[in-house]
């Protein structure tokens, strides 16, 4: 690890720890002597999440997990390495290297990379002359095209380069453009020569990449200029590119290189700093190297191993964290919080904590002191931690902590209503109900208690019944009406569904009982 990293890491960590201590001190609670703060209305969900964040910030388990993830992230950052995206295609080549950039690269830069080349600027902005559009290819030939007995692509360019070296602009035989028109348009004295450009049109440098203006292929169909009469070959010495692109235009720079292959292999890093990709001739094909970086297999293995190690640690220590959260959960369940609500609050709170804890790492990576793979590793480990916490919360909390279904309700009044009157009244009310049909109603008189038993059929399902029992007993001078509802079904209904039926039946019956007593 470089010394600068440590120098940056230490103050950042110190500031971060100070913030944690300040936050922890602020929320530690009030002692008797302190003045209580003003009472504010706070959302219960927000308060719960705040508590989870506070608890997880101060929990030794989370701190140990974070320590593990931080050490692993720094290790991964140190061991990771990247390579340029590489692809090998088997094709016949007429050159040693093809370098392509989607912008204008000055000729001096190209000179610093290679010595023998053909430089082409494909100007995608059309030149409007006499209501016809022409497309310019600005070319620089930088190889000895007169003396060398070339057998590759250079032999085809011999004629073009010869004309271009004498400052001729080349157009196709069938082109309507002439010397006067072109000179008038460009505002300079131009010498035009017309040759057959049909060979140039079909010159494919890479699959889908042509010497003339092309923007690639779609479904095997290459998108390029098909009409050779629309092409103008302009020598670079005219310096026309700035005039053509005065209002901005799309330019593609292509360099067809003829230097030794080894030279290009050594220059790959420099080339890809400027250009988008380079294709280097190899035995029986072309190796295309793109500037987009991909992690090496070793880096991926490093991330995988660090993930495994962090998962081992998280699994080993996560139990303690879950226990801490569950101790809070048990209090919440008594207050009526559902399991899902509690689980969501814990996961959200933990995620917020881990997100806040990631800030030092992210800032160091952002400053470029460590590789950004560290952040990726952190994110992966945190996702693993959250998923594992979620799974363990479900398995530990399970059914035990599921809130009991609310199936009973008590109502105490001083007025007594006779059993027969109550039974007939309830029958009358429930028979008009939209959701339930009455199957059976009976009243039972015991010595100390009176019972009304009602069997309700839920109309929206096939075989779901609600058994309602109303107990009427005396407490001092008052009468207590206690309603119990039990739902059962022959269908494969979920617990939530049965719970909602139960609540519905309970509300209908309690409503009926209250209206019967008060009527």
């Amino acid at each position: 690890m470089p010394i600068e990293t440590i120098l940056i890491l230490l103050p950042t960590s110190a500031v971060f720890i100070c913030i944690i201590i300040l936050v922890a001190t602020k929320y530690r609670g009030f002692v008797e002597e302190d003045h209580l703060s003003e009472i504010k209305l706070v959302s219960p969900a927000f308060k719960l999440i705040k508590n989870v964040v506070k608890k997880s910030f101060l929990s030794s388990e989370v701190l140990l997990i974070l320590l593990t993830i931080y050490i692993l992230s720094l290790t991964v950052a140190y061991t990771s390495s990247f390579a340029f995206t590489s692809q090998i295609i088997s094709t016949e080549t007429h050159y040693n290297a093809l370098i392509v950039g989607k912008h204008l690269v000055p000729p001096e830069v190209v000179d610093s990379i290679t010595q023998r080349y053909i430089l082409v600027y494909q100007i995608f902005k059309g030149i409007e002359i006499n209501e016809s559009t022409y497309y310019a290819l600005i070319i620089k030939c930088n190889f000895n095209y007169i003396n060398e007995n070339n057998v590759d692509i250079r032999s085809e360019f011999y004629r073009y380069c010869d004309y271009l070296s004498q400052n001729y602009v080349i157009a196709d035989d069938d082109s309507y453009v002439d010397n006067a028109i072109l000179s008038n348009f460009l505002g300079m004295d131009i010498q035009l020569v017309k040759v057959d450009l049909s060979k140039l049109m079909s010159l494919e440098l890479l699959p889908g990449v042509y010497f003339v203006h092309s923007i690639g292929t779609i479904g095997g169909l290459s998108l390029r200029i098909e009409d050779e009469s629309k092409i103008l070959l302009i020598p670079i010495s005219i310096n026309i590119e700035k005039k053509l692109c005065s209002e901005g235009c799309e330019v593609q720079t292509m360099v067809v290189g003829f230097d030794f292959i080894e030279k290009y292999k050594n220059e790959v890093n420099n080339v890809l700093d400027i250009f988008d990709y380079i294709a280097i001739s190899t035995d029986g094909g072309l190796q295309i190297l793109s500037r987009s970086l991909t992690p090496t297999p070793k880096t991926l293995m490093s991330i995988f191993l660090s993930f495994i190690i962090s998962m081992i640690m998280i699994y080993a220590i996560g139990g303690g964290f879950i226990e801490k959260m569950l101790s809070m959960g048990r209090d919440l369940f008594i207050l009526g919080a559902t399991r899902k609500f509690f689980k969501s609050a814990v996961l959200l709170g933990t995620t917020i904590t881990l997100f806040l804890m990631s800030l030092p790492l992210v800032s160091i990576a952002w400053m470029g002191l460590i590789n950004s793979v560290a952040v990726l590793n952190y994110v992966i480990s945190v996702i693993g931690f959250v998923v594992m916490t979620s799974y363990r919360l479900r398995s530990v909390a399970g059914e035990v902590l599921h809130p009991e279904l609310i199936g009973s309700y008590s109502y105490v009044v001083s007025v007594f209503t006779s059993l027969d009157k109550l039974t007939s009244c309830l029958r009358g009310i429930l028979s008009k109900d939209d959701f339930f049909a009455i199957s059976e109603v009976e009243g039972i008189k015991e010595e100390k208690v009176q019972i009304i038993r009602i069997e309700l059929i839920y109309k929206k399902a096939l075989s779901t019944l609600a058994s309602v029992e109303i107990y009427v007993d005396r407490i001092n001078n008052n009468f207590r009406y206690t309603v119990f509802v039990d739902v059962w079904s022959m269908e494969d209904s979920t617990r939530e569904f049965l719970s909602s039926i139960q609540r519905l039946a309970l509300s209908k019956t309690v409503g009926g009982v209250i209206s019967c007593i008060e009527s």
Partner: protein, 137 residues
């Protein structure tokens, strides 16, 4: 009696759930070390091994606390309790020490190996003392 308690501590250390985590950690970290022969990776893995021992103790917290409390309640002396904790810790550290020593021997890094061993011994002694203090409280 000393022998029985030492054996009991050893049994507790080996059969505990934390031992599985330690072995898994040792396996994965050793692969890591052999993949990347860089000194910084070794230092980081050593730091992680300290954390791993702590986590393994925390995962067996209930059993260990119960065991030490029984020893305290039955009138065991500080020296005996410390010996029991150290036996427990040594067995937890043993897979890590073996793996890392083998790794260092492969590259003939004898000085680093000695420093590592000293670091583990110091860690073991200090942790046993801290554990005793925490449990005694």
């Amino acid at each position: 009696m000393y022998r029985e308690l030492v054996l009991q501590s050893a049994k507790l250390s080996i059969t505990g759930k934390g031992m599985i985590y330690i072995i898994l950690f040792v396996a994965s970290s050793t692969i890591y070390l052999f993949m990347f022969d860089i000194q910084l990776v070794f230092v980081n893995m050593m730091l992680l091994s300290f954390v791993a021992v702590l986590t393994s103790i925390l995962s067996d917290k209930k059993t260990l606390v119960q065991y030490i409390l029984v020893l305290i309640l039955s009138g065991a002396r500080k020296k005996l309790i410390l010996i029991c904790i150290r036996v427990y810790l040594i067995l937890r550290l043993l897979p890590i020490i073996i793996a890392y020593v083998m790794y260092l021997l492969r590259f003939s890094l004898y000085i680093i190996m000695t420093v590592t061993l000293i670091a583990y011994v110091v860690y073991m002694f200090s942790l046993s003392y801290v554990l005793y203090k925490v449990l005694r409280r």
